[in-house]
């Protein structure tokens, strides 16, 4: 699973448009984005100091945090526009907009198999009268799931995810199984050992090459410089700088002001 061409111009990508989006918590404005389009390039990185509003912006896209004002819409690759901010939250994943979580999120009573089968199972199987459909779902998706299990080296999937790293990885695999068209990754490598970080990055590159738009929020700037085709620098609630990694790295004054020396 290694990318060949990171940037094939023939593919038009799904994009997200954030327009006039404002969010404040107890009077303090956390996000104030005038007009922002994400997804023009295959992999975009979102960086900035703590409290810049990166995670909040991601959560606003996913309806985990409500908007005070503004709209967020999906511009699918085949044209048109779908306003996401008025849809029910569950519809996002069905449109291919998927996010991995910064903090660990898991189902305490579900095993690894359960968690992954849940992600892939179609809603027509999840109805009160379909009590004999487990086999069908399993057979339909077994090989696909096993591929990821083997690739990431999961232990026995009939067990519960125990360690923080395992839960984090499980979260990412769930996202991948949803076949995202627009994938948001909120600190995907935090808490993962280096070899797994590389494996995750490789999969993300493959996805992007196949036409999925990816946005990564990450504190580990090495990941950003290596992975991203474009970097957006966010501070005080809005994107103040964007460009290819090289340009951003060279723009020392801004970046150093916020991130401190040695980060560039």
């Amino acid at each position: 699973m290694v990318a060949e061409a990171a940037d094939a111009p023939a593919i038009t990508r799904p994009r997200l448009r954030v327009k006039g989006a404002v969010k404040s918590f107890s009077g303090r404005i956390v996000v104030d984005v005038d007009d922002l389009v994400l997804g023009d390039r295959p992999i975009e990185g979102l960086i900035g100091p703590n409290g810049a509003g990166k995670t909040t912006l991601m959560r606003m896209i996913m309806h985990s945090t409500s908007l005070d004002r503004g709209t967020i819409s999906l511009l699918p690759s085949d044209g048109g526009e779908v306003v996401l901010s008025t849809l029910p939250a569950y519809r996002l994943a069905r449109l291919g907009v998927v996010k991995s979580n910064q903090v660990i999120m898991d189902f305490p009573k579900l095993t690894i198999w359960d968690s992954l089968l849940l992600a892939v199972a179609g809603s027509r199987y999840e109805q009160p009268h379909r009590i004999f459909s487990e086999r069908a779902v399993f057979e339909q998706h077994e090989s696909e799931i096993r591929q990821y299990l083997d690739y990431f080296g999961f232990r026995d999937p009939t067990l519960y995810a125990m360690s923080a790293g395992e839960k984090k990885l499980l979260d990412i695999v769930r996202c991948l199984l949803l076949k995202p068209r627009f994938l948001l990754l909120d600190e995907p490598t935090a808490g993962l050992p280096a070899d797994l970080t590389d494996k995750v990055m490789a999969v993300v590159r493959d996805l992007a090459a196949a036409g999925t738009s990816v946005v990564v929020v990450e504190h580990d700037l090495n990941v950003i410089w290596n992975l991203c085709d474009e970097v957006l620098f966010m501070a005080e609630g809005s994107v103040i700088l964007r460009g290819d990694p090289k340009t951003i790295r060279e723009n020392r004054t801004v970046v150093e002001k916020y991130l401190g020396e040695g980060h560039v």
Binding site: R59, M62, H63, S64, S66, P88, A89, N101, M105
Partner: protein
């Protein structure tokens, strides 16, 4: 016009205990986050304590309010120390806490029934004077209930908003960890909250009891209405509880005057409250953790 004044006067006086009970319940709910189903038995016990003091020591009704409130407050504190505090320390979840309080409520209710039996009991008080208010005759006990609700609500409001102990209570409610660091002793403050809530419930019970009769189901019969008032009104603080409580009381009285079946009034209010909760729930449902 007559209908309006009648509804207002009857509603405010007859259902004043509802407001008092709802304030106590909301206090617990807002400050400790607990939905305490057993609060209905705090009310019932208040009625029984009052009756006991009244019939055993031949105290008049006004004097009886003191032991009724105090003893109910103590019972409330005891239920915290014996049941809810251990439950919290064991990390019992929100849903389980409600079921525990439901179990406690059932246990107390039937314990009372076992001790006192089925027959309803009455306060031994001389028939209250009837005082005309806006052309409607009102019993003096009910007027007293209204006055004490008003006074208690004011005192509570001042206590929580103005006193230093009130400040501590609010600090504890918003962030227990932070409150602890800044030198607030959570146990003392929490016990105080439970005590105040218990006193409010006990007084409400005594008023309910003297207004009609005393029976083990007294508090449970009122519980749903109290719960709804506290939940819907509580969003806007103590003032909201009082406002919604008064509105509910007047609506109950007005509908009781209109319908030939008094129970329809309750039915209408249940539907109305659930719809309010639904509409409000819709707005917050989408925003959640993740």
């Amino acid at each position: 016009m007559e209908f309006i004044t009648q509804s207002l006067v009857i509603g405010l006086t007859e259902h004043a205990p509802l407001v008092l009970a709802a304030i106590g319940f909301a206090l617990l709910y807002r400050l400790t986050g607990l939905i305490n189903v057993a609060y209905s038995e705090t009310i019932t016990l208040g009625a029984y304590f009052g009756m006991w003091a009244n019939t055993t020591f031949e105290l008049n009704f006004y004097t009886v309010l003191l032991p009724a409130g105090l003893l109910a407050g103590l019972v409330s504190v005891a239920s915290y120390l014996l049941v809810f505090r251990p439950a919290k320390q064991r990390g019992v979840g929100v849903l389980e806490l409600i079921i525990i309080s439901f179990g406690l409520s059932i246990f107390l209710r039937h314990g009372l029934q076992f001790i006192f039996g089925y027959p309803v009991r009455f306060y031994d008080v001389p028939p209250p004077d009837t005082i005309p208010v806006l052309g409607v005759g009102v019993s003096s006990f009910r007027l007293l209930a209204l006055v004490s609700v008003a006074v208690l609500a004011l005192l509570l409001y001042l206590f929580i908003q103005r006193s230093s102990l009130g400040l501590k209570i609010r600090a504890l409610a918003s962030d227990e960890g932070l409150a602890q660091v800044s030198g607030i002793r959570p146990l003392v403050v929490t016990v105080l909250i439970w005590f105040i809530a218990g006193v409010a419930g006990g007084l409400a019970g005594a008023f309910y009891g003297v207004g009609s009769n005393v029976a083990p189901l007294l508090g449970w019969r009122q519980f749903l209405m109290i719960l709804m008032v506290a939940l819907v009104g509580g969003t806007w603080g103590l003032g909201g509880v009082i406002l919604v409580g008064v509105g509910t009381s007047v609506a109950l009285a007005a509908m009781a005057l209109q319908f030939d079946q008094v129970l329809y009034a309750q039915l209408v209010l249940i539907v109305a409250f659930v719809v309010v909760l639904k509409i409000r729930g819709r707005r917050v449902a989408e925003t959640a953790k993740v």
